[in-house]
Subunit: 652 residues, 2 copies
Amino acid sequence: MVARRQVGLLVLAAALAVAGAVALESCAGRGGTADVGAIARERGLTDADIVAAVKTYQPTGRLDEYLMFSSGGHGGQVLVIGIPSMRLLKVIAAFTPEPWQGYATGADEHREMMRRARVAGHDITWGDTHHPALSETDADYDGQFLFIGDKANPRIAVIDLRDFETKQLVANPNMGTDHGAAFVTPNTEYVIESSQYAVPLWNEYADVDRYQQEYRGLVTFWKFDRQRGRVDEAASFSIELPPYWQDLADAGKGPSAGWAFINSFNGEMATGGIESRKPAFEAGASQNDMDYLHILNWQKAAQVAATPGRARMQRGQRVIPLRTAVDEGLLFLAPEPKSPHGADVTPDGRRIVVGGKLDPHVTVYAFEKIKQATEQRAFTGNDAFGVPILDFNAVIDGQLEVGLGPLHTQFDGEGNAFTSVFLDTKVVKWSVEPLQVLDEIGVHYNVGHIAVAEGDTKSPDGKYLVSLNKWAIDRFSPVGPLHPQNFQLIDLTGEKMQLLYDMPIGVGEPHYAQIIKADKLNPQLVYPVGTSPGTMAQARDAVAGGQERIERRGNEVHVYMTAIRSHFNPEHIRVRQGERVVIHITNIEQAREATHGFAIAKYNINLSLEPGESQTASFVADQAGVFPFYCTEFCSALHLEMAGYLLVEPRG
Amino acid sequence: MVARRQVGLLVLAAALAVAGAVALESCAGRGGTADVGAIARERGLTDADIVAAVKTYQPTGRLDEYLMFSSGGHGGQVLVIGIPSMRLLKVIAAFTPEPWQGYATGADEHREMMRRARVAGHDITWGDTHHPALSETDADYDGQFLFIGDKANPRIAVIDLRDFETKQLVANPNMGTDHGAAFVTPNTEYVIESSQYAVPLWNEYADVDRYQQEYRGLVTFWKFDRQRGRVDEAASFSIELPPYWQDLADAGKGPSAGWAFINSFNGEMATGGIESRKPAFEAGASQNDMDYLHILNWQKAAQVAATPGRARMQRGQRVIPLRTAVDEGLLFLAPEPKSPHGADVTPDGRRIVVGGKLDPHVTVYAFEKIKQATEQRAFTGNDAFGVPILDFNAVIDGQLEVGLGPLHTQFDGEGNAFTSVFLDTKVVKWSVEPLQVLDEIGVHYNVGHIAVAEGDTKSPDGKYLVSLNKWAIDRFSPVGPLHPQNFQLIDLTGEKMQLLYDMPIGVGEPHYAQIIKADKLNPQLVYPVGTSPGTMAQARDAVAGGQERIERRGNEVHVYMTAIRSHFNPEHIRVRQGERVVIHITNIEQAREATHGFAIAKYNINLSLEPGESQTASFVADQAGVFPFYCTEFCSALHLEMAGYLLVEPRG
């Protein structure tokens, strides 16, 4: 007998996803129009089942059981989505300035943060977020921090989940781009970032014809100081890697704690050149049947990096040279099927699952066998850089055919795995032991990553899976040549997977997501009055009501301002052209949602001041004239009256 | 007997909104948990009704009947939302650079667009979008263009609905900020932009103590050239206004075509100064019982502006001085109750409804009476600037008490009006003739504007109303001190309004929205190969497959590149440090959704190339080194192989 909850989910699948089922059979159609009732009857579901499902899953007025943190891809941000309602609760700015949140649109603390994250001497005003990682304690999400990597300009963002704000951007000086970022070790000792496209490591410049001699991959272990809530760059270290194009990473847990796994493609070390009639990268990098899974002992590497003389300082970063990594037994390679994408550690930490995009199988590696082989030095040889290669057949548990283009694997808490299959555009459910396909469901279309509730922890919840589909053909009303992507919510509680909902993503191009139980989070709803979000402590220049003032110090005009419904104090700021204006502004409200904005028209400044928040914004009043400032967040019936004038008297 | 569709909606209201109803009675609660079935039974609805509702409104796999275009507030963008599914289909970048769309993140055409929209000599990288206006033909949305105003830096964006992209930003040189923007005349002859906070108009600088002498309001009528799809700045004109703080605008239609209406607050001409123990703006601007509705004859004004000697050129803009506007009979004032927000013309163009935020009534003006009074010059006097004032009682049809804080009014096609009431946090339905309250519904919480399907046309559809609520207390899982706002979908088809759905808005702070029938839009799904979106014509430098090449011209390196799954051609770009690199890149795909991104690591460039699109991005290769470029949009199984190298050889 099926439990009541499962009936509910099954029925909601019928009720809400019927058109999905129809469209599966008719890909070119304009979404489904079939009769929900007919489908429900076909599946033996009654109207009462539908009612029960609606009762359970109707979102309005209900809080969600889970929150999903999804990358926004080259939008440069993080999306926060309620599960199961599939509603977008917030977009967290990370690498791209965002004025609604007042992120890098005027506040001095953000200007300083962006300045530190400059790359190659350039201001960078966007990012390509790929993989979010929730902080972990004992291999379980602890709800404290979120990390995410920027592929384009290899950087890591640190987001504090007390206020869902980005606190730090860390730029990697020794990579060209990253891809395996961010992934955390089981107690968030380190945040892992591994490179993608190799670049010269030890020299500034080398032509691509010196690829094998000069170009290198890299993995950086960023030390996380949980107390400070910041990456400690000085305590971090990197390991030089061969110039294969490293891809995704994962940290071991349980028996494999202390180790990390990174797969790669372009084991061929192809260098492209289609313009000169050489094979394009897509051809050159897809010739061999096997690439290399990188197996790293980060715990030992941390000791080596700390030993004087073992690591080299390169552009301010401690880098363990490849030779040293090999000599110290920090790095091993295992063959892995063609052009893999995911390298995913099972919840028990005993296995690593790899999906080779150009191979129809998932390959399951046994960590115990890997460990044994490394200890016994049972190698089949070395690669061109001297890195020992393990015997493929000796370190795998087996392979399972799942379809064309297996990409990324997630797990539930009952020994099952779920793999996204890009070319077949489906999700396959299979058991890890024995290796056996259990179910599959078509998705719309071209799934990249998938996320299961609590899926990257040692004890996944299962229940829901979100399929992050790249294309959405005909599932939504057309909105021009740039189409939304499609997140599909899939029910995992029944024997068969069931499609519950299609959510268009029209705000970025997500790559990966993690889903955490909502009750693990405990966000602040207001700040204590005078809080600087940059430090989460009292701002030095915050003022209380009654302390507002303007102080002149040489060429600087310091304005100590408060904001409260519905006025700023002061309302007039008089300066002379060319003076530096430094505005210290505190929202002295403590009512939830009583956020005030602070915009100075024509000086390109907008702050978002949540209740209690204090910020400083400084600028040179280079233009004479009369510039209104006003509250940009509709705060009260007299919101429009919340304004003032910056008066910049012309010079001489 | 209630029609089947209405039953469906009523039931969905019960099924989906039950917690809303519960929360209404218990505002402090954490969302509702009541039993849907119980509520349904209470309302006399059967389970069959719920099934019918799900069948009608379940969104997955269905296309939406309407699209809503909503401002994103100080996010600086436009949100496109499906109705009734309340799914976010796309965020259109307008004033704020946005890398997912490749908007102002590297393309030369956007750099030029942003350069023209500089304000006061400053680059402006954000906007405060307020009021979207769909283009109209004969006072009906025609689905061709969308306009939206930026309050902070008074500007207008023009969005082409063929590709949902922003094509033009127009900066207003004579305003401090705007608010009454954008609103269109019935055939989109003009886009109306009226100022908010007055600034000196004819002189660059005047202290605020010379407010009445020097500060002025302004309304600009931007001439729209539909053929070119652009505002024609040279053919546009402005009218000087008294320094009241003008607020919302609307254009007349039908009998009132040729006229525009703008309300205002701060008729007191308060100048603030709380820091000097003067009344704050919120107090000073709220003293009088009446402010002024501005009544403008724009058709006549256009003739006056075109008459040599009548308008003055000020900062490149033709401005009709206030004195001339009065003498020519272009501007009249009618008293309006305290601090109004909306000035909304009825579908038949016969009435204007004003909600005075600090007055419990809506006030209904009869255009016929206004016209008669202006023709008969039946004035009660002039304001301090000589503008004639109409007799309040002579020009109104009547007033209707709707509650505390009436704000904005929309209409259906059956003679009913809907007014948002901010302080009472509800929407009131009333009939225009006779003036009579029919229904009200509580919303969660603090509604600003509302939008009804096709609500600003001469023939609204009714059916759905969206309440744009500013606060969402407890309706969604908490996500830190900056909370999402809450769009509530309300069913208008029954006798009683019914809440259908709560949609969190976590990506901006919307002000106003318009809802258009989806079938009025006909967006392109791909571009013809080689299209420049800036001109919607063939790009001069687009190349077809086989024509790729690199040309050196003096210090410039021109790269003629193509993108197709899954390679760029060329894959290597070799330049010397200090050379200018000009990349002309064409996505030569014609498959829907086969978008490619083009990012150059560390040079702060990301383009989004939809199928067929051609763009040029140029930059100085000031930094030597090896810089991967790659496709940022997951396009195929070999997407990660779609990459290349920019090789910048060091100088000397």
